[in-house]
């Protein structure tokens, strides 16, 4: 099994707070990899460092063996990492379809000149972008809402739209930040089917999730963060019975 993403000794401080400390992990191609931990453990910080939103203080992150580009997150997107957000961040005043079409930006090339002249190649690319975006809306099951403004979509559909937009960037690694947050049992079950399908289609998934049942049922391997440090990494069954993990979740000071 080949390695897709390798994080080596990643560290990140905010002021005096060590949000990530010496975090190393490897994600294999085709895996669904879970990242769990109590609130404030550093999961979202790891996502933000991974996608270039925050610069890391130390360590390295390699995607397919090469270091992730520094500087702007758009280069990370080009390199093949896409993400969704714990608190949904769509382009609220654009339609669902347009949101997904923005996701195609890194994989298309029409220039300013093309945009002004609107030549045949530009038009062909534009219609390809639209076709692909419609496919993706079908894929996540909200094609009927294509022309609604993102802010008018119901909550569950907004989550799906974020996934479609992320998929539009053709990621090698799809990072989902608490995709089941606020969903009811039916919606969560549908989400599970969706994530499973994404993996079957060849995209590796990194999943932050509080819903332990979802994580344990879906992930091949799970890493646990606590106070910015990785305290466990294993298959779900063994992580669940790991004493350090139990302590982190239940609080060590009590017993």
């Amino acid at each position: 099994m080949s390695v897709l993403l390798e994080a080596r000794h990643v560290g990140k401080c905010f002021g005096g707070i060590q949000a990530l400390q010496d975090v190393s992990l490897t994600i294999n191609v085709g895996e669904i990899y879970g990242l769990i931990g109590p609130n404030g453990a550093g999961k979202t910080t790891f996502f933000n460092v991974l996608t270039g939103l925050y610069p890391k203080d130390s360590g390295a992150i390699l995607l397919k063996g090469s270091p992730l580009p520094l500087g702007s997150p758009h280069l990370v997107a080009e390199a093949g990492i896409a993400r969704t957000f714990q608190n949904i961040r769509l382009f609220a005043n654009m339609t669902a379809l347009e949101n997904v079409m923005v996701g195609r930006h890194a994989r298309t090339r029409a220039s300013v000149i093309g945009a002004v002249l609107h030549d045949r190649r530009t038009r062909a690319e534009e219609s390809a972008i639209e076709q692909r975006a419609i496919q993706l809306l079908h894929y996540v099951g909200i094609a009927d809402r294509a022309n609604d403004l993102a802010r008018h979509l119901p909550y569950g559909d907004q989550r799906r739209l974020e996934i479609a937009r992320a998929l539009a960037t053709e990621p090698a690694l799809l990072a989902l930040d608490e995709p089941a947050a606020g969903m009811n049992a039916t919606e969560t079950a549908a989400l599970r089917t969706l994530i499973d399908g994404i993996r079957v289609d060849g995209i590796t998934v990194l999943l932050i999730e509080h819903d332990v049942k979802l994580v344990m049922g879906l992930c091949d391997r799970v890493a646990v963060l606590d106070y910015g440090e990785k305290i466990a990494e294993d298959i779900p069954e063994r992580v669940q019975s790991n004493p350090k993990v139990i302590e982190a979740y239940l609080g060590g000071g009590i017993g």
Binding site: H74, A77, A82, F91, N93, H105, T108, A168
Partner: protein, 307 residues
């Protein structure tokens, strides 16, 4: 009745120019939340650059409209470069600074551009040669000159083109995504710095066009012409709802109409106490009213999201 129609024609033409300039303000504001007060000076640079090119060609025997076209084609790349450089040098380093810093920088850039223009073109008023036929056409009793017709046609084409660009192309989508949330746009693969650059350049080219149009219309250009024109266009942008392209167009036309009708009738209405020399007052009177009663502008709802 003829006077009313005449003032409406004049107002719409003037408004079309305001709208073109207002688009430059509103595009940049939409994307960066920055009011680029130096945009009026870009318009001035466009007018004077075109004038230089036009003066070189005016004895050459080329037909007037061709010379005018060459003037516009000379002004556009110069303004594009000015727009690019001012964003790159003056504003980009202040991207994350408090809002007041780029605002004051904009005023500084505007003064720098004015005095660069003084160095190149001097302080005097320059007469724009007559390049288009001056004989007006009759429009139900009102007169409309070929220049005015050209302004209306060019402004309309430009605005339609811009709307198509913003709403129907990959670039436009990236611009709107950047305007809504630059951070997320970057995560989706949009190079937002590039989008900001392009926005400045596009706005500046529109400014160049507006500068040439207004100079041809009034047959005059000088280094301070961008100041009052810029302020009025800014007023138009605020009137329509700054950050909103349609708003800049509506605001521009409305402001042109208010100014033309106001200055046309103020003499009669006040029994001659105020004359048409008070025309500039109307724009700023409108600005004050808008800021008091509808600060988000006529079509602007987006402001609330941004604040």
């Amino acid at each position: 009745m003829e006077i009313l129609l005449q003032q409406i024609v004049n107002g719409v033409v003037l408004g079309a120019v305001y709208a073109l300039v207002a688009l430059g303000y509103t595009m940049v504001y939409g994307i960066l939340g920055l009011i680029n007060f130096a945009h009026g000076e870009v318009v001035m640079v466009g007018a004077l650059t075109a004038l230089t090119a036009i003066n070189l060609l005016v004895g050459s025997g080329l037909p007037g409209p061709v010379i005018l076209l060459i003037g516009i084609l000379a002004a556009a790349p110069v303004c594009l470069a000015v727009g690019y450089l001012m964003e790159r040098i003056a504003y980009r380093p202040l991207r994350n600074a408090p809002r007041l810093a780029p605002l004051i920088t904009a005023i500084g850039v505007s003064i720098i551009l004015q005095y660069l223009a003084v160095l190149i073109w001097g302080r005097s008023y320059h007469a724009y040669p007559e390049l288009l036929p001056t004989a007006p056409f009759d429009l139900f009793g009102a007169r409309i000159t070929p220049t005015q017709i050209l302004i209306l046609v060019l402004a309309t084409l430009t605005m339609v083109g811009l709307l198509l660009l913003v709403h129907k192309t990959r670039l436009g989508r990236a611009m709107r995504a950047t305007a809504e949330n630059p951070g997320i746009a970057r995560l989706m693969g949009v190079d937002t710095d590039r989008i900001v650059s392009i926005t400045f350049m596009l706005g500046s080219v529109l400014g160049a066009l507006a500068g040439v149009m207004v100079s041809v219309n009034y047959s005059i250009a000088h280094y301070q012409m961008g100041f009052i024109l810029g302020l009025k266009a800014f007023t138009a942008a605020v009137l329509g709802g700054i950050g909103n392209l349609g708003g800049a167009m509506v605001g521009g036309i409305l402001l042109g109409l208010i100014e033309a009708l106001g200055s046309g009738y103020i003499g009669d209405l006040t029994g001659g106490v105020f004359g048409s020399n008070y025309r500039d007052v109307f724009a700023f009177f409108v600005l004050i009213l808008v800021l008091i009663f509808r600060p988000s502008g006529l079509l602007g709802e987006k402001l609330a999201d941004r604040a």
